[in-house]
Point group: D3
Chain length 199, copies 6
């Protein structure tokens, strides 16, 4: 598979052409493009090998497309925005900030989280989730049993607790892939979900 540079996608990464991808991957990208109206750059930027691409997307979807009472799809996006902002990850904050605005139906929440999660407009359960998630992202050795108990006390199940950790961990990886590759957020993401009609 030929790789080349495309600074509109990523300033440093080698990116493949979509048409060079195997059929199953091309098909998935086509679906996303149709649904979103554009192809999010991550689909070409982070994974230059088909097996790594499949693993990355499989893990992402398994963690982010679940919806439980203790950890909704919207909550999962909030975790991504807050921890990615701590890592100064432009792609993840902008792209998942757009999704978070849409899923929460709150046009202000992503900017709030990205700038100062401590003062963002969150309910008590969400505050605990974000606080513990940021701790795992930034000072992972300091996480304690007590941190996980706080999540259970806030209404998360044992599986939800595991998912909090897995989401933080997955985006610790994604943030570094994005920084390493100089991944660019598509301009479309910046405006998505900011006004009622765009939700």
């Amino acid at each position: 598979m030929a790789l080349h540079k495309d600074p509109s996608i990523a300033t440093r990464a080698l990116v493949p052409d979509v048409e060079d991808f195997p059929e199953d991957i091309r098909q998935k990208i086509d679906e996303v493009t149709e649904k979103s109206g554009f192809t999010p750059n991550v689909f070409r930027a982070v994974a230059s090998r088909p097996d790594e691409w499949r693993a990355f997307m499989s893990m992402h979807d398994s963690l982010m497309d679940r919806d439980t009472p203790g950890l909704t799809k919207a909550d999962r996006e909030l975790i991504v925005v807050a921890t990615s902002a701590e890592n100064s990850c432009m792609y993840c904050v902008v792209a998942h900030g757009a999704i978070a605005r849409i899923r929460t139906k709150n046009p202000l929440i992503s900017d709030q989280l990205a700038i100062d999660w401590r003062k963002a407009d969150l309910d008590d359960r969400q505050k605990v989730i974000i606080e513990v998630a940021v701790k795992l992202a930034m000072t992972p050795a300091e996480v304690t049993d007590g941190d996980q108990q706080r999540l259970r006390d806030a209404g998360l199940t044992d599986e939800d607790v595991m998912d909090v950790g897995s989401i933080v961990a997955f985006f610790a990886m994604s943030n570094r892939l994005a920084h390493w590759g100089g991944m660019q957020p598509n301009p479309e993401f910046f405006l998505m979900g900011r006004t009622p009609r765009q939700k």
Copy 2:
């Protein structure tokens, strides 16, 4: 799939029984167990869902089982040990420290890297790799084009450079999964590769 606690594997994670895994996973675990003489705890600790397990292992193997002149299998393990030590990740340092000793045939290198990578017994190419890898692991936003150029100047190809980033990123995830779950290194790892006959 039933999940339960097993503190000999992980103090906080929910772990599945191997026998509950699907056939393909059980088979892979059997192979590793036969080859190593024991089942490394990561195979039960980090992934409670078959799809996540498959993705995690696929990504790991794609990155760690490659061997190029610019980035050997041994070099890849050195990256894991040094960056995981910066994250105080006991499982990753101990388990991959064992593999690094074996692959480098150097019984001292892993302890050196884990304690003070700046003074470890590395050649010039390895020093650059480790220095840049640690930078990406710990202060990812500060990575520059110049850091990647240093790797190319040291003899790495463009694909090797991408792999450095991907390995660091993958273990940024693994380190956090291990901390979150309280994953325990198997006692066998501590002694592997420390004496000539064990190489």
Copy 3:
């Protein structure tokens, strides 16, 4: 002058009613309100005493309303966004982010700066300005003669160099006032300057 709490303006500060302000202040607030279409919360949130209010606004306008070839009005707003983001100051990032979008005519620049100024879409002169400004904001004792020389080499005059320092310093104050008071950005700011027709 009676002070009271108004959480739509600031969660912790005591804020005055505009009608209680002396005539000169009320007049200035009326002008801003007419021009902006709303009253930015800072006008009521940071200054509970008329003399402090006048001094704060006088200093702000003296620094921000100047326009020189080496340091345009737009450049000045970029400094505010980048350094305020380092301080996680929601009011300053959102409000001045809006102004920066309008003055630069670039709807993406403020989010880029707030998330990762190192990768924002800046020209070389602006990059030096932002890098030095962030250094003064976050590690002021480490600023050197060389940092100021870099600004002059990039085309700033001696007065421009002084202004860079004064703007950073003024917003080091503003950021802390905003955090202390829990100042809320008006919702209008979040969307300003994001689409062509809104410029």
Copy 4:
């Protein structure tokens, strides 16, 4: 107004001649000089423009010349010394250290605060004030409602609490202006208030 360099005042700033200042400013400087026996360098070093000078001094005096039971003039100087020391600001620590010695009639307190405020000879109310002030100065996003409640519990009124924040914020600005300009403390300050007869 002509500006020039004068390293006895500031190694990097452009400083004006006093005689070039407008009449109202010259008069104020004359008053201070007569009272102190020398002209503190800040009067020429931080403000090269008359309007900025007036705003700076007005804000300073409004905050520092107040005296309330919960926050005396002496207490206000202690805040300046402790937070300026955290910022390694030589001018502010030396000049306000002198004033703090005089206002507290304690010749040791300023050195104690500047070196290790945690072990300085403070009463319980002062300890809370300094601890919260240092937090706002150094990690402003982490300030909570609870921090302000601690101040009220220690006897500060709502206005005193606002003043703690405003003083910290004002000197966050001053510290950066002093570092940027390389402002020099007048030699006279080092010895003021150190012996009984000099109080």
Copy 5:
């Protein structure tokens, strides 16, 4: 006394020949060599002057060769390993890690402490000791009366408490001497105490 470089002992220090040492020092080194089977490099690396050598060893032995119910010889080695690991001190972690394995009869404890003391296999008393010791080593100004009280509550006497501080302090010195000199741990240390027969 002639000094020269010997990179097998220390990459940067000037080291003396043992035979050039005064008789009392040579005798002590001979004893250690006979007991250990090799001469630990510290005996030649850290002290180029006989008086400093005698003082260093006297202080070390006074602190480390005591054995009290509240602070056993093994406990003292654990303090050394944990705090030296925080300082990335290769010589101290490797050499005292070996002694700690032998004294605790636990072949895993030193690697655990060096990588992540928070998750090491310690009892409650030891956990408090290590936590407070690391605090003194890394953020000494933040130590409080409460930290020392925690030690007494865990069963340490007043003299034990003093010894915790003295051991941490002594190795704060040793770690810096080892870094400054580039002191090399003898290869023998890496394997000592790792298997039952080597205890």
Copy 6:
């Protein structure tokens, strides 16, 4: 030897009575007291056991009472003041600040160093010494061969270079002993060397 608390000497340490010390120690303390006019608190605060006391003082005198062209007695005190200030050590900054003023005949230098060593009135050789010394004190693992070469280039001999490291290391210990014990600087130190007649 009876130990007790004496908060005028140290708020937390157990201190011995001078009369309980062995004859050789009492004699040395008498000499210092006669020379200084008071007994510096360190002589009772840091060492509760005669052997540790002797070792501490022997090491101190060996390092601090030497005087070489490349590293004068005054230079050695400057190292102590600057590194102890980084550790917020009140006793060491105040006591050695007094000695540094006397030895340099510069009444301002100690306050300058303690507040912001980067802007203190040092010559080029001294600047290099202090910069490298602070690096060893605060981030010891990051010291390089190049740092030591900078010292030699500034005119220090190999033995001087070793002494820089040993002084920093010794005061890394002393600072922590002082913090642990809550050691109080004698009031006399604060004023010593501040006026010409006191030199």
